[in-house]
Point group: C2
Chain length 470, copies 2
């Protein structure tokens, strides 16, 4: 494709996306396709000869579009919001169009330096001190894996250059909560700790980790000959957006020299609001933090920012230095390849940079406050209905709710919950995520799609009541 063909088709793609974004509220939120249906519309074999680009565009409407669940839909209340704001989309498009690669600073200096600036801007917006340095990773799963690998190597005094984890005489232990994200358990297992060395610390009634339990668990492991290594604390858990009390848990962890990783993938965005900063009280004592601007804040996926105190340690764990990657600028610059797992890196900073500039801090704050208010509004409505319950504190923009008709057993209640939420999702009117809490199914309502206004939440509430009483 020549640049001139690109210009022609590119304008068509831009129009197609603009039309898609401005009309998606008229479509079903959750895709209504059957398993295999999309695949069945595509040829089983690759084309030998070039196809006209118009055929590709046609398939966007006929094959792709019906197979999408619409995360940007104002009636999307599933998982957590993934607000691919249009200014950020343009930043990401630029990154792809530029086609440059960050193997080293020299291989495209702007890629590295705009990332330094954009992550530092975000640091300031979040109220973090300048002792933190940021780097963009793909997802919080990866950021947390990087954190646990860093912790492993600090506790083992860089065992990786000797016999690795398999040469440790005493098992290293990681501490989590039952409400830590599934990626935390995955990261601990992939890092080689083993499930027997992942301690699930008990939590309080609001699903926050108990510092006393953490302290006791660490002491028990030490007395039994194991080496406590790291604790993962969460601000904004996935099920209920619970907040592990940072200050006291960090005190307990630091008493025994543990690495503290703070998973603020979700609640991190709210730290641009001073009134939410209580959730981060004590965060400066941590070793690493992950914040996902690609969730609520509006950066196009993927953009997960990993903040670290001791960047030299990170580089020592992650660095490689083969001759073909050495450049004359080394020593004067950051080579971000040594700050994470992959060698090759996109120019991801553009999507964060453009988002912040096009919105300004004030614009982002305003939208987040709207969502917090919408969550409080819905919580108040639910409180007025005796057969509905809000099951966890609404501290952020997510509600855990259940419709509890009188006189049903717990098993019937589970069936009832899954029935109404699945039928509502399948209707295409909205998208909610069921999850279990204290062993029973409930429904998460995660407010905060960019186009969700209060009237959408009103429509949702009406639809929930209808579905539950159907």
């Amino acid at each position: 494709m020549t640049p001139e063909e690109f210009r022609r088709y590119g304008h068509q793609i831009i129009d197609w996306i603009a039309d898609y974004r401005s009309s998606l509220h008229t479509r079903p939120v959750m895709a209504q396709t059957k398993p295999g249906e999309v695949r069945s519309k595509i040829a089983a074999n690759p084309p030998v000869d070039a196809e006209p680009f118009a055929d590709v565009l046609k398939d966007l409407d006929e094959v792709v579009l019906p197979g999408l669940s619409l995360w940007q839909h104002p009636m999307f209340f599933g998982y957590f919001p993934a607000n691919s704001s249009l200014a950020s989309v343009l930043g990401d498009m630029l990154s792809t169009g530029l086609g440059v690669l960050g193997l080293a600073w020299q291989s495209s200096p702007a890629l590295t330096e705009v990332e330094e600036v954009a992550t530092d801007w975000l640091r300031q917006m979040l109220g973090l001190s300048d002792s933190w340095q940021g780097v963009i990773q793909d997802t919080a799963s990866t950021s947390t894996l990087v954190a646990l690998l860093s912790a492993r190597e600090r506790t083992s005094d860089y065992g990786l250059v000797r016999g690795g984890l398999q040469a440790e005489d005493r098992p290293l232990v990681v501490y989590v909560s039952a409400h830590s994200h599934s990626s935390v358990d995955k990261a601990a297992l992939l890092a080689g700790f083993g499930r027997q060395n992942v301690r699930v610390v008990s939590h309080d009634a609001n699903f926050g980790m108990c510092p006393e339990s953490l302290d006791a668990a660490i002491r028990r492991d030490i007395s039994e000959g194991r080496k406590p290594c790291a604790v993962v604390l969460t601000t904004g858990t996935t099920t209920t957006t619970a907040v592990d009390p940072l200050r006291k848990n960090i005190e307990a962890a630091k008493r025994h020299g543990l690495w503290v990783h703070v998973d603020s993938a979700m609640a991190g965005s709210a730290m641009i609001l001073p009134e939410c900063r209580w959730m981060w009280d004590g965060v400066e004592g941590a070793d690493s933090i992950v914040v996902n601007p690609h969730k609520w804040m509006g950066a196009a996926f993927d953009c997960s920012v990993y903040y670290v105190k001791d960047a030299q340690h990170l580089v020592r764990v992650m660095s490689t230095n083969p001759s073909y990657l050495q450049t004359t600028a080394d020593g004067q610059v950051k080579n971000y390849r040594d700050w994470g797992l992959p060698l090759g890196r996109r120019f991801r900073a553009l999507k964060l940079w453009l988002l912040i500039r096009e919105q300004g801090i004030a614009g982002l704050q305003k939208r987040l406050r709207r969502d917090l208010q919408n969550a409080q509004w819905l919580a108040a409505q639910i409180a007025d209905e005796p057969s509905w319950k809000v099951l966890a504190p609404v501290q952020l923009q997510t509600l855990c709710v259940r419709h509890e008709p009188e006189g049903v057993t717990e098993e019937e209640l589970d069936r009832h919950t899954l029935n109404w939420v699945n039928s509502l999702n399948q209707s295409g009117r909205t998208y909610l995520t069921p999850a279990t809490l204290n062993g029973r199914w409930m429904v998460r309502v995660s407010i905060g799609a960019e186009n969700t206004e209060q009237h959408h939440v009103e429509v949702l509430w009406q639809a929930m009541k209808e579905a539950a009483s159907a």
Copy 2:
């Protein structure tokens, strides 16, 4: 940003990229900025209020553009090509604009099913049997880490659900070559094996791993009480594009039950050419393969395809199943989150799908053959010049060359090599990557940027001669 604003600015961005792509041959290939220069042009603090989008566009020209090294430049011969073909760019732009996320099949069915189709198309193009299943990862670094984690868990019989790698009674060992990519060593260390358990198997004069040495190394480890776990074989090494003989090395590995991972990040693209398939003789005996369509083939970065024989094993190692990720479609569909490290996934298949359709197999083959011919042309020129040497077989599109004036010591030769290549890079005329081979510096000429025609290689050769004799 509203969809209508997006339409307006999006057209500007498309035009900007089209202009950039059609004019980049007039710019310096390697950025001529100093460390910190880009950063110094950007405000140190984030804006409180929204900035006009025109200011952002202005900074593209004044801040970003001068700070780019131009991977799409026809005079780019550095690293390996990263051909961000414009059809693929459009596919990636669509992915960003759609803003959907593949947490589960249900969270956007087309994202999963187009990925199934596109990776299967590529499988057919590469001549792989249908016993392979593909998934898109970000980079080969990640794919290789996934392979070594899979190997670790097969050898340890899923130790991750027990005491992890730290509970193994005998150390697990990984086998590589000195010419394996730096990411292989990194993956082995991050997976916890430890450098003492990474064996560097000797290679032949053409830099391919010796099967006899592999066999001997494995036997020695067994006899000394260790557990051989995995071998990484490379087709198309980074320094010289050498090919580890697959069939015999795989025989040696399989005799002892090792996991075989084939790193074809670079040479994999050439497997669409039947005349290059000798490099993969025996590949069907491997357990996993990585191929990077985002290199020479032309997919926009990031698009690394990981092929695996036993997908069930992969899922068992990588899967998580918290309640909030369960859907009614589970069991009937693929949930690609369980095929790699990150939970969230972009719609990356679009950039591969659009590339293949817009080019056709024939179009891709034609371009790759052109590059192979250009490499042979340059090799022939160099063979005619007594003071120049080609240092390794030119099997693909990369040449390892050195200018060797008479009567210089080896240390002087190193200085001479780095002098002329760095001055040539800094001139902006071209971009080459110096690297060491057998302990001495030489220069890699990696042909294959999408716009590089023979006349560009002629200009390069002239420039090299001038720089070396300056």
